[in-house]
């Protein structure tokens, strides 16, 4: 007998909600803070012995389109991703909004105010507004789970895709949650041809747009997602409106400040479209309304009476960064005219994040700097972004940009008297995600650059999900493998070689060969092949550590620390020699080749 109450991570609560609501198809591309959703769907489904389809897709756009086809076929479907992933999936999103949904269709886009692990703090609710679809904004794991069910109902009742927008604090908090028995999962599709709708021409799109506006007007009056008043305070001239985790913080702060009984606090469940009568009533009855939300003033914008509304647009709430409970305490106290001491925790200085000890990327970056010391180094999104610290990463824009930016830098810099060599780096998962199209483009344009594909056989940054080359899926099931080198060659690249970055000298020599080739023939690709050590050891793979010692020859020059930066090598202030931290060292032995004094040796 399984316990009926479990301590669930926000993402697991969302997954549980999907399984309980009979979601037949779930897809995703990993990205913090959303990554734990899909594996949990797979787990719960296996526990409950349910059918359906769960998969990691090669990118968010692909994930979206697979799930959307299931919705068109009448099945409940969901796709999850992080907020910047929604940019990649925005093309199908905009169009799907017009065409609508048949089986309930949930798009889960996890935002990262802070940002803790992202390139931007963008607000997915704005994307919902642009697409003209409703968005739900949960305040807790439990509410996120409930909103999955409500979202499916909303989607089916109005035949429209629905966005669920949790934030990091919801995704990565845990709460004790009651489990229910999953609803029967409808796996029987109801696919009917209707090309006028599913393949609509511009003329019909105009009609669909009109229908969409009509749906939105009705959704702005839907009972189940209406704003709720969290306390019983009777209306005076002031009110506070909050959504997401800000509402959860505000409720506690109201009690602490003694405002619970006399200042109305509303939680908006559906920030867009904001319920019409709620907007009207609150603006009619209050002189001043404070809005607390992350990260953009989406609710505030819709409460269209600038003089009455305080929030981000009015400058009362910061528009950058996450709003911590201690910030909300100050803002609410100021708004309500009560006094409270300002208390803030200084951010931990901490070490700057660095690649793990024994990480194959570190060896590859070191070799790149050796082979092309004055190079231009576009890079990409993943653990290897941390190659920044090693001086081997110049630019990081978005998924796949390393390849197109390499081409762009060539065209921009080619008229210089001395053209710098260009060496771009991209991870294997990122290459499959968005690197193939720009590689084809650079072949056509014969762009002279070297692309190093850092193939560690996993999506490491987000928790070691499989890639297209892994041969297994989210359920652990066996899948087909795509051969990375074959893809590269298929793109038309004439030089594609593979090597182990741990052998730094040989790897650097191969890079030089590639650089020579690309000058006349266009892009050359070097596949840096070595599994992520963390992943390898977690899976119980074969790993024979070498024992490295620091010998007398070390003069404390610090080269290995500043140029190679393995966290296991420490040169503290005043130390005459480096110290090797045996707890951290993984025994990869690469530093032996790095030290110019030959002071690091493998023993035994």
């Amino acid at each position: 007998m399984k316990p009926s109450r479990l301590l669930l991570l926000g993402n697991e609560a969302i997954a549980r909600g999907l399984v309980e609501a009979g979601c037949a198809v779930a897809t995703a591309y990993p990205g913090t803070p959303s990554s734990e959703i899909l594996p949990a769907v797979a787990r719960f489904r296996a526990d409950e012995k349910l059918g359906g389809h769960v998969q990691w897709a090669v990118n968010e756009k692909v994930a979206f389109e697979i799930a959307y086809a299931a919705s068109i076929s009448g099945l409940r479907a969901a796709v999850s991703m992080k907020q910047v992933g929604l940019n990649v999936a925005s093309d199908p999103l905009m169009s799907a909004a017009y065409m609508g949904a048949k089986g309930g269709f949930l798009v889960i886009s996890a935002d990262d105010p802070g940002p803790h692990s992202s390139q931007t703090e963008q607000d997915s609710r704005l994307m919902a507004m642009m697409a003209k679809i409703p968005v739900l904004d949960p305040a807790s794991p439990l509410q996120a789970k409930q909103m999955v069910a409500a979202g499916f109902r909303l989607s089916e009742e109005f035949s429209i895709p629905v966005l669920l927008r949790p934030t990091t604090r919801v995704c990565h908090s845990r709460q004790d949650i009651e489990l229910s028995v999953p609803a029967p999962c409808e796996l029987n599709p109801d696919y009917r041809k209707d090309p006028l709708r599913w393949a609509a021409t511009p003329k019909f799109r105009f009609k669909l747009h009109g229908e969409l506006e009509d749906k939105l007007a009705r959704i702005a009056g839907w009972e189940a997602t209406r704003p709720v008043q969290l306390n019983r305070a009777r209306g005076g001239s002031l009110a506070v409106v909050a959504s997401g985790v800000a509402a959860a913080h505000a409720a506690e702060i109201f009690k602490a400040l003694g405002l619970w009984e006399n200042l109305p606090l509303y939680q908006v469940l559906q920030p867009y479209p904001l319920h019409t009568d709620f907007c009207r009533k609150i603006l009619e009855s209050c002189e001043s309304v404070l809005v607390l939300e992350e990260t953009t003033g989406v609710i505030e914008m819709q409460l269209a009476s600038r003089g009455q509304v305080r929030g981000k647009l009015s400058g009362d709430v910061p528009s950058v960064g996450e709003i911590l409970p201690e910030d909300i305490e100050q803002i609410v106290a100021g708004f309500a005219g009560v006094k409270v001491a300002a208390r803030r925790i200084q951010q931990a200085p901490g070490r700057r994040p660095t690649l793990c000890a024994g990480c194959p990327h570190r060896a590859a970056f070191f070799a790149i700097k050796k082979a092309a010391p004055k190079g231009v180094y576009p890079s990409d999104i993943g653990c290897y972004t941390l190659g920044l610290n090693l001086g081997a990463v110049d630019t990081v824009l978005c998924m796949g940009a390393a390849v197109s930016q390499a081409a762009g830098f060539h065209h921009a810099l080619k008229n210089r008297a001395k053209q710098p060599p260009i060496v771009a780096t991209i991870g294997d998962s990122t290459f499959f995600h968005s690197g193939i199209a720009p590689l084809v483009d650079s072949v056509v344009q014969k762009v002279p650059f070297v692309l190093v594909i850092l193939d560690n056989s996993t999506t490491a940054m987000t928790g070691n999900q499989p890639t297209a080359a892994s041969g297994w899926g989210v359920n652990g099931e066996s899948l087909a493998r795509v051969d990375l080198a074959a893809v590269v060659k298929g793109c038309g690249v004439g030089f594609c070689r593979q090597a182990d970055p741990y052998a730094i000298k040989e790897f650097a020599a191969l890079l030089k060969e590639a650089l020579a080739y690309c000058r006349d023939h266009g892009p050359a690709v070097v596949i840096s092949k070595r599994p992520c050590l963390l992943d390898l050891r977690r899976r119980g793979g074969n790993w024979e550590p070498k024992q490295v010692v620091v010998t007398e020859a070390c003069d404390g020059c610090g080269f290995c620390v500043t140029q190679f930066e393995c966290p296991a090598l420490v040169l503290a202030e005043g130390d005459k020699q480096v110290v090797l931290d045996t707890m951290v060292c993984t025994g990869c032995g690469v530093c032996v080749e790095v030290c110019p004094k030959k002071a690091l040796e493998v023993v035994g």
Binding site: R5, L7, T32, P33, H116, S117, A139, S140, R169, V170, H172, S173, R174, Q175, D176, V245, A248, H249, A251, E252, I253, A256, L324, P325, E326, E329, A341, R343, R344, I345, Q346, A348, G350, R351, R352, P353, T354, M461, T462
Partner: protein, 184 residues
């Protein structure tokens, strides 16, 4: 102090010390007693930076995060973190710090009662160097009389979580008990 059923604890350490494990242990102990629980954790890129903090709230709360000046107690697995995170404590809160030397209690507008335990030393003594987190917990559960759960509750959760791995369970319980017996 409030009655033992509404409690806010901060658990602070560095990556690899088992901050998350300790948080879940306490959260499950609370659930076993039928209490509501919230935790808030550090994941992803932030985790690679070193400092890891988690918030645990037991009882009637709505927010997963603890405001500065509101925590009832702090479990500090790395001494340097005390300065960083002491501000979470309310006046009169307790802190158990992993340290070989005594650490003075804090005075001023936010007094904090500090107890220490040589968690690394004791964990090594019982041949379980990775269980220093449980040593700190053992010490905390002994000095904090109002804790929402007792030693037996913790042991019960350990038994459940580590079921099937007798050796690890034995080490974990031994480390926890070593923390309970420690006097400094």
């Amino acid at each position: 102090m409030k009655n033992g059923t509404a409690q806010q604890l901060v658990i602070s350490g560095v990556g690899g010390q088992g901050v998350l494990f300790l948080t879940r242990l306490l959260a499950e102990a609370a659930m076993d007693k039928g209490l509501a629980v919230f935790t808030s954790e550090t994941h992803g890129m932030a985790q690679r930076g070193g400092t890891v903090i988690s918030h645990l709230k037991v009882g009637d709360f709505t927010s997963p995060m603890i405001r500065p000046g509101c925590a009832d107690g702090l479990l500090v697995l790395k001494e340097e973190n005390l300065d960083l995170h002491a501000g979470y404590g309310r006046a009169g809160a307790w802190a158990v710090v992993n340290s070989r030397h005594p650490v003075p209690s804090r005075q001023g507008d936010c007094p904090l009662e500090v107890a220490t335990v040589d968690a690394f030393g004791l964990a090594r003594e019982v041949a379980s160097p990775r269980s220093s987190n449980l040593v700190v917990l053992g010490r905390a559960i002994t000095i904090c009389r109002d804790m929402f759960c007792g030693p037996d509750d913790i042991v019960r959760v350990l038994e459940r979580r580590l079921a099937g791995d007798e050796q690890r369970l034995h080490k974990a319980v031994t480390a926890f008990r070593a923390g309970m017996k420690a006097q400094q």
